[in-house]
């Protein structure tokens, strides 16, 4: 028997060793690639990585929260913890800090694998992801409908949390937009603060041309690979990339057509400095290259990083689209706090969030003063903290203005497929900017989107 095998092996060695080796190497390569990709595609082999999380579950009253940006979101939880501890001295909170993409990836893999051990009690969710998570992972997130008085929050923020008549989570920070502008550049070009109030985007471009001519500075930046501006424009017209029932919203949508017309006009006018990434974008206003920045209220922190520009900035409402129902207010970004349904400390976590971030004016006042964070809790808007004047912005009470505008932001449904729709648009945007027929382009985008979400 063994001798036979030996003989057979020798034969193989003599005749077809090379072929065998060849096939073995192909097989090895294939299996190697497959296993690598399998880990990537199926997401099953990702470890839970929640050593920090499981610690908190061991019976104690310790609530674990995952959040990104410790100096903003993490700091907010610390304030909330201090407030909650006044009435609940034995309450313990552990904030696990991780990058936003890491957090989202970890949450996705854990939920897909059905592993509940590694997950925290509280998790921060970026608003465009809300519907996606709730529909993709049913019965995973706790229902907050009767736990928080939602009439005290800006309606558009609550709309984002409502799915099938249930409200999931506590509204947190908002990204109400404004047009930050350099008062010195605009003065040089002959414009005063009043000239920037309640203008249209076409007027904005005219002003931009004057500014470019007289000061040599760009009016704004433009990045065709980033959807921030198109998102702001769409929401200011009460529209979005997708309809509330998750269909593409490109064809026969006047707001979309107007948004892309304005976008192309800004790009064509030469008033916008092309940038390719976030650091370049921030660099452009920190180094004084641009006269205006249209962005969310959270941009205040980055603008104030350029200490030498103190007193040279102002904030006006954003320009509006030239369509029916469009307003001079919009939103960019923002997030909310969710509690996991399967969490061992679910009730405690809900109570903690509802009593602090979900219903404490003091929390929002401190959050603004200490971290520059703006929430959507209306009772806090009339507080002293929100009325403070900013020296950096020439004595303007900027937060009062921002909260005033936040009440006008049209409520929209962010839907499930926002990212898919954005990518479909991004695919066609270069053609639009090169002058392709807008109607054809919109049709192409709609078709691409429908392909993507089958």
């Amino acid at each position: 028997m063994n001798i036979e095998i030996h003989e057979a092996l020798t034969q193989i060695k003599q005749k077809g060793l090379y072929t065998l080796k060849k096939w073995l190497s192909v097989l090895l390569l294939v299996s190697l690639t497959a296993s690598l990709l399998a880990a990537c595609g199926s997401a099953k082999s990702e470890t839970a990585g929640g050593a920090e999380g499981s610690e908190g579950k061991s019976g104690s009253k310790k609530v674990v929260a995952w959040a990104w940006d410790p100096s903003f979101n993490g700091a907010a939880l610390k304030i909330a913890e201090e407030l909650y501890k006044k009435d609940h001295p034995d309450f313990q909170l552990e904030v696990v800090d991780m990058a936003k993409t890491d957090l989202e990836q970890k949450l996705n893999t854990n939920l897909a694998a059905g592993v509940k051990d590694g997950l925290p009690d509280i998790i921060l969710v970026n608003d465009p992801n809300i519907q996606k998570y709730v529909t993709a992972y049913p019965n995973t997130f706790a229902d907050f409908t009767d736990k928080v008085d939602y009439s005290q929050f800006s309606p558009y923020k609550v709309d984002a949390l409502r799915i099938d008549d249930k409200i999931y989570g506590v509204p947190f920070d908002i990204g109400v937009t404004g047009m930050f502008y350099r008062t010195d550049y605009l003065e040089q070009a002959g414009f005063k603060a009043e000239d920037l109030e309640n203008i249209t985007w076409d007027r904005y471009i005219e002003i931009g041309k004057e500014v470019k001519e007289k000061t040599g500075k760009y009016m704004s930046t433009i990045n065709p690979n980033d959807e921030a501006l198109t998102s702001i424009l769409l929401q200011s017209g009460g529209s979005w990339y997708i309809t509330p029932d998750n269909k593409g919203n490109f064809v026969d949508n006047p707001v979309m057509a107007e948004t892309l017309r304005v976008y192309k006009a800004i790009s064509d006018s030469g008033i916008a400095k092309p940038v390719t990434g976030w650091s370049e974008f921030v660099g452009s206003f920190n180094s004084g290259d641009v006269a205006t920045v249209v962005s969310g209220v959270w941009q205040v922190a980055s603008i104030m990083d350029a200490k030498d520009q103190s007193g040279k900035w102002g904030v006006a409402p954003i320009p509006r689209l030239n369509v029916e129902g469009a307003v001079n207010a919009s939103n960019e970004g923002g997030s909310s706090w969710f509690v996991l349904e399967g969490s061992a400390n679910k009730d405690l976590a809900i109570d903690f969030l509802a009593k602090t971030i979900g219903g404490s004016s003091e929390f929002y006042e401190r959050f603004l003063k200490e971290n520059g964070g703006v929430g959507s809790y209306i009772p806090a808007f009339s507080s002293e903290a929100y009325g403070q004047e900013s020296e950096f912005f020439g004595g303007q009470a900027i937060y009062k203005d921002f909260t005033e505008w936040s009440k006008q932001v049209p409520g929209i449904s962010l839907g499930t497929y926002t990212q898919e729709a954005k990518d479909a648009l991004k695919n066609e945007l270069p053609n639009i900017l090169n002058g392709a027929d807008l109607k054809d382009s919109l049709f192409n985008i709609q078709r691409l989107f429908e392909q993507q979400v089958q």
Partner: protein
């Protein structure tokens, strides 16, 4: 004799058993699981079996076609350039008269030890609109205004290709260099006595002698390029439009950026598996020794 042989076979199996079990558990089991997964579709955990529909969807998915086109473009353009460059550099570094060899070898191999993400970020800043490259070109008056490298579909692809070439040429060069050192110098000596030029020697002696190594690096590079991810995500994030998106990035998007559809993502990853297998097979057919 027989019993001794049985014993050694048994011993052999014992050695192989544990690694085999681990490979089966961590390699083959996930492979089979993801194959099963590739027949499902849906959002996150709400999935259902849909048979071969995912595979049918591949052929009508413009995003997948775009990613496939981009990836194959990198493969067809970048791999030959890189391998040829690596070969030429290795040839020069192997010349006996060259001074400061150690320095050059280190310098050319050094990119390989940099982290994928950090070098990608560096390339991004070099090719930014007000990046160092534009400043340089403008100061020598080669261009009038800055070029938006990463916003032009063609230039963005050139940047990606330049970046991976910079990163991986040295890696392949090392293989060639070590193989060249195994070529008997007397072969070259005989060739020069026969009057063969240096170029002739390179193409008629060095290249044929290195054939197995060239084949090996070609397969490794093909495999690596088909799985390209870090560079594209960090330099262009797939843009402008989706002009630089690779298949791996598409898989990532399907799983973590879009509404998660792990089933379809698994299907796309199996598409890469099949392509790697087919390409490796052809490369062996073309490049392998005749029987």
């Amino acid at each position: 004799m027989g019993s001794k042989s049985t014993k050694s076979t048994f011993m052999g199996w014992q050695f192989v058993l544990l690694p085999s079990a681990i490979i089966v558990l961590f390699s083959f089991y996930p492979m089979i699981q993801s194959l099963i997964l590739s027949f499902q579709s849906g959002k996150g955990n709400v999935t259902s079996f849909i048979g071969l529909n995912n595979y049918a969807r591949l052929f009508s998915d413009p995003m997948f076609k775009q990613a496939l086109f981009n990836t194959l473009l990198y493969l067809v353009v970048q791999v030959p350039i890189m391998l040829f460059l690596g070969l030429v550099i290795a040839y020069f570094l192997n010349m006996p008269k060259l001074r400061f060899k150690g320095f050059y070898r280190t310098a050319i191999f050094l990119p390989c030890v940099t982290s994928l993400v950090s070098y990608a970020v560096l390339f991004k800043s070099i090719f930014a609109v007000d990046g160092i490259l534009n400043k340089m070109l403008m100061s020598i008056h080669l261009i009038d205004g800055p070029i938006a490298w990463l916003m032009d579909p063609v230039w963005a692809r050139v940047v990606i290709i330049a970046a991976i070439t910079w990163r991986w040429t040295g890696y392949n060069m090392i293989f060639y260099l070590s193989a060249m050192q195994n070529i008997d110098p007397s072969v070259y000596e005989a060739a020069s006595i026969d009057g063969a030029s240096k170029t002739r020697q390179f193409f008629s002696i060095t290249v044929p002698m290195l054939k197995p190594i060239i084949l090996f690096t070609a397969i490794i590079s093909t495999n690596g390029t088909l799985q390209l991810f870090d560079e594209v995500v960090n330099i262009t994030n797939g843009g402008p439009g989706n002009a630089t998106m690779t298949i791996s990035q598409y898989i990532y998007n399907l799983s973590f950026v879009y509404t998660p559809n792990f089933g379809y993502a698994a299907t796309v990853s199996y598409a890469i598996v099949i392509m790697v297998a087919v390409l490796a097979f052809f490369q062996l057919k073309v490049g392998g020794e005749k029987k």
